[in-house]
Amino acid sequence: MTRTSMGKGLGGSPKVDGSLKAEGSSKAEGSSKAEGSSKADGSPAGGFRQAMSWLHTWVGLTLGWVLFFIFLTGTVGYFDTEIDRWMQPELPQAQTGLNSTDTAEVLLDRLRVEAPGADRWFLTLPAGRHQPYPGIFWQGASTKAGASAASGELQVNGNTGEPFSARDTGGGQLLYQMHWRLHYLSRTQADIIVGFATMFMLVALITGIIIHKKIFRDLFTFRPGKGQRSWLDAHNVLSVVALPFHLMITYSGLIFMGFSYMPLIVAAHYGVDDEARQQFISEVFDPPGLVDSAREPAPLVPLGHLIAAAEDRWGENRVRSIDIRHPGDSNARIIFYENIERRVASGGERLIFDGVSGELLHQVPPATSAAKGARDLFVGLHEGLFAPPVLRWLFFFSGLLGSGMIATGLVLWAVKRRQRMEKKHRLPHLGLRLVEKLNVGTVVGLPIGIAAYFWANRLLPVASVGRADWEVHLMFLAWLMVLIHAACRPNHRAWVEQLAIAGLAFGLLPLLNLLTTDRGLWHSLVANDWVFVGFDLTVLIVGLMLGWTAWRVWQKRSLIDTGEISIKQGRSAQELPGGQS
């Protein structure tokens, strides 16, 4: 049944490469027919595939820009901690490897000063890449008793016990948070937009698999320099090469936010109020043995031998954090969390101690039930917190492939229609021009915005008020300016100019870092400071690649504008870059 509909769609395009013509794209064929006429219900199989193609096209177009934002900011988020550290150059290198017992003592002293009378003290130990510095967090402290705030968090220098002071910034965390919080929107608005976008990402992936008939046979096929077909090849390659990642990241994203997106499932069985929801959360997620405060003071047990017990079990420096509930109460409980680098599923083992006697009450395995285990697995895969450096790069790289998949899909939509217009000697209609401008303004504009965020971090005065907010404002202002630029310039010029700007914006960041801090590339290399070296080199390479793409697009206007011309030039332009992403 796949053979019967083959070949027809190729009628319009010249057969440039004889040996490959049989592998012509089924997708272009399907969708061009699907949009052409209303007689779509010819043969059952064809009708089904056309319906899928139609759905894929329009879901992709309407949500593509939002999804590109989600994918790219989420991808950058795989290096959230590293970006945090680059954006606070005042902080020293990571303090991992400090003695856990001493560090916990230091943190506890700090909590006694900052948060007396608190309901909960939380100690973060410098256990690895995602927790480079010791930190504290507290809830329900009493300001009357001298607490600096009812709840708060601080990063603390593990050697001196003093809080770190560094420039105010949202850092990599904020950049990563954007991919589900959309920054300026309320939580509810963001949930609705991101939830539906992710849901339809899943629909787009499934329909894409259905309409792409020969996933394996076409897997290695990329034909550059052939206009629309090259874009389709690039879209297919980027989609299929990392298909397991795309499916995983999409479904796990839904599950991650599942209770917010599908609140009624829990509500139906527990009730609709907050208390009912809390009941569900504690039944499924909380470790056993937690109790309410007894309101009777009792001294907190020293942490030393509890830490020793935990490290006996888990290994040295493998306590990730210590969660003290009701410190100073006779019902105090202390939860130790195991570090998470050894398994994919999020969350390690937990040990629960009596906070007064120091008796071990419970050992809680990472997954208390199969259902929670499944959820933890998806969440762990999504976050990739377990991933050591090489694997972390592969996550990042897969995320870029996903962003590229969305970008090439969007460009393909526009290139295909422009080609059709030009064949009929018609001017592109308003919708097409709008899509073209949004494409360049998003696919290149968002990276420019991200670069602007980094520039703002270095250029805004360290002491200025609200500088963290302004870093983000400047990111979105830069993006807005890029969109305006795209609206004013011809399509091809817009791509070239913006790619060049993006290339400069990223490529010059190491220079900016050298001029505005004392932690330039050379210094970082000498000091073995691989986070700074990694950041500087990465943005340099990204900048060079964007610049190179700008140069190639400038040479070959056909790459973006017209499939027609590019097919004629196809033979002489065998080594064109196809999927810029």
Binding site: S38, K39, L55, H269, Y270, A374
Partner: protein
Amino acid sequence: MGLTGSRLASLVAAALVGGYALATAVGIFLGGILPMPRGEAALVGNLLSFAVYAGAVIWTFVVRRPVKVWLGLMIPACALVTGGLLLTGRAG
């Protein structure tokens, strides 16, 4: 594909709202009947509901007939919610 105007709007609404209703209903049903503590059962329902949603959206645009789609999504949704709550005795 000849989908325009009110017919298209109705189908999109069916995919968004009807699909959501069916996905939630399946989740509630599973939360009610699975032989495990209710919290876990509700969690399983939650994990699987998104697959149902995706399936419902795709089915909507395969069928492409608004009346049939709306009925096909909403009748099972109502039945599943009722069934799931009745079987666990939490209907009222």
